[in-house]
């Protein structure tokens, strides 16, 4: 069970907002984390604490294929991203780098700054103060296998008998 403070964002949060291309001359996670969400909220990187949770609207992670986006979010300490929907490349990338993400239709109702509990095993989401609960869409079984293997690379290694 994860529990963290909610940072709220809107619809169509693109990868240039998550990590601007001007910082892509490195792939160092700690360096990327320092500029995470800079184009949408320059204070985010200094305010976010380990375990915090991003809650957003539709099409989160649209735009570029840069894996630096989920890497930056994860390295910033974010425990989980809950959005109404994800852009498809970001969706795959998040699983591949081990950033938990959940799709939930009711993210509009989750207040910014609230404490949120997320159970990744069954997709139950609970706002601590109000006790209000929401159900995320189940993670497809194939993606669960990747999560269980702790990422795509260990999954491939196991398959190749390495």
């Amino acid at each position: 069970m994860l529990e963290g403070r909610v940072f709220k964002f809107g619809d169509n949060i693109d990868t240039d907002l998550i990590i601007p291309a001007r910082y892509l001359n490195t792939s160092d996670p700690a360096e990327l984390a320092r500029h995470c969400m800079e184009n949408v909220d320059p204070t985010f990187a200094s305010r976010v604490r380990p375990g915090d949770i991003i809650v957003a609207g539709t099409n989160f992670g649209c735009g570029s294929s840069r894996e630096h986006a989920p890497v930056a979010i994860k390295a910033a300490g974010v425990a989980c991203v809950v959005a109404r929907s994800f852009a498809r490349i970001f969706y795959r990338n998040a699983f591949n780098v081990g950033l938990p993400i959940l799709e939930c239709a009711e993210t509009d109702n989750i207040p910014a700054g609230s404490r949120l509990q997320v159970d990744l095993t069954n997709g139950r989401i609970r706002v601590v103060d109000s006790g209000q609960e929401y159900q995320a869409r189940p993670v497809p079984p194939f993606m669960q296998e990747i999560v269980a293997a702790e990422g795509l690379i260990p999954y491939v290694k196991a398959r190749l008998g390495k």
Binding site: T58, A87, R92, V97, L152, I153, L160, K162
Partner: protein, 423 residues
């Protein structure tokens, strides 16, 4: 054995690469990949992950690496990243590594060099990999780790997408090109209008488009959230591939009774050139409704609109005219071959005489990397593909997306105008 149910071109290509006769939308398949692509930004991450697996590349000829984003290296960190790619290509004997001076912007270079052909499955660690759908191939963007896994396995997993069909009919006006058709479609359906779907482009207007115009359309499918854009191949596709294709190709077409999630029919007879206003590619207006938008910079180039036809259109507008004194016009031919051809045709002479800066191929300004980064408050008209906040530089700068004719005309006028609006 019953008859195989009807399928779209996207289904057929995925089925063929999954060793099946039929695949249905929603089904997860493991498919062989013909070509894998990465660039100087995405390859270093892919290489780091690939080396954790500890195997050889499944087929060195299938892995294409093109340092095109921050090259010629813009700073020391970029140089270090490009070196990681170069060293890996040498170590693994990749024949399709393209060095500065012999390269191009990846999505223009790969079709031009015949590395991607009709019927292929192509994955690239770059979202605009969907460009190759113009050849009647299945091509989609992936992240670096997906690419790394496929470099080891020679295959990857896909959820077979539902298809959206776009039928373009009518007689488009003289300055309307592929860019306007795709901007119009994105304006209609929105930036998540094709989320997880294939966008299949058909109709007499698509039939009449050059290959360059078709690449532009498929290039921006991702801007509507699509997994891939695709144009069923015809005689123009074959004429393009013959003489340059490096592998045998196969033509797949949609069955007439294939199922589509939705069909959009557009008559583009009265369509004007389109402009996508900040900060979203779906914020589209006809150029006549652009209003008074004074500009500081114009960029003509990128994987969207840096091909020969685009440069010819720009030269037609710029010929004998001067760039406005308050505007910087940057023109970037997207491959070395196109640059040379533009020299031969006198296009580069026209550009320089008009007061433009002409650059060696690079993605540079499109993503605010180098070669034309915007200051706070500046505005640019660009033939590129994204106008997100901060895309070309300062978070308080603005990008307006347009076709090469509108971009060239705006460079002369100093504000956004159609080519008919310049004397």
């Amino acid at each position: 054995m019953g008859r195989v149910p009807p399928q779209t071109v996207t289904q057929k290509i995925l089925a063929a690469h999954a060793g099946k006769e039929f695949v249905e939308p929603g089904e997860l398949v493991s498919a062989k990949v013909d070509v894998l692509l990465a660039n100087d930004i995405t390859a270093p991450l892919a290489i780091r992950e690939f080396e954790r697996i500890g195997v050889q590349v499944f087929d060195p000829a299938a892995v294409v690496m093109v340092p095109d984003h921050f090259t010629p290296n813009k700073d020391i960190k970029s140089a270090e990243q490009a070196k990681v790619v170069r060293d890996f290509a040498r170590r693994h004997g990749l024949p399709n590594y393209y060095e500065v001076g012999r390269m191009g912007i990846e999505h223009c270079l790969l079709p031009e060099q015949g590395l991607v052909v009709p019927g292929d499955v192509i994955i690239g660690a770059d979202s605009h990999t969907c460009t190759y759908g113009a050849l009647g191939a299945f091509a989609t963007g992936v992240g670096s780790t997906d690419l790394a896994a496929a470099m080891a396995l020679g295959e990857t997993w896909f959820k077979v997408p539902e298809s959206l069909k776009f039928v373009f009919a009518g007689r488009p006006g003289p300055w309307v090109g592929g860019k306007d058709l795709i901007l119009y479609a994105i304006g209609q359906i929105g930036v998540e209008g094709a989320l997880y779907c294939a966008m299949e482009f058909t109709g007499p207007v698509i039939d009449g488009l050059s290959m360059d115009g078709r690449f532009t359309i498929c290039n921006m499918a991702v801007e509507a959230g699509a997994k891939n854009g695709i144009i069923p191949p015809d005689e123009k596709t074959e004429a393009y591939v013959q003489g340059r294709g490096q592998r045998p190709y196969k033509l797949f077409k949609s069955d007439p009774d294939a199922a589509y999630k939705k069909v959009y029919k557009y008559d583009v007879t009265d369509l004007e050139p389109c402009v996508a206003f900040p900060h979203s590619p779906d914020n589209v207006r006809p150029v006549s409704e652009a209003g008074d938008v004074k500009i500081d910079q114009v960029v003509i180039g990128s994987c969207t609109n840096g091909r020969l036809e685009d440069l010819r259109v720009a030269a037609k507008v710029l010929g004998g005219r001067q760039v406005h004194k308050d505007v910087r016009l940057i023109i970037i031919p997207c491959t070395q071959e196109i640059y040379r051809q533009a020299l031969k045709e006198g296009l580069i002479e026209t550009f320089i005489a008009a007061g433009a800066a002409v650059s060696t191929p690079t993605c540079g300004p499109c993503l605010g990397g180098h070669m034309g980064v915007l200051a706070k408050g500046e505005r640019a008209v660009a033939t590129t593909n994204r106008n997100f906040i901060g895309r070309m530089g300062h978070p308080e700068s603005e990008v307006y997306l347009a076709n090469p004719a509108v971009a060239a005309a705006s460079a002369i006028a100093g504000w956004i105008v159609s080519p008919e609006g310049v004397r």
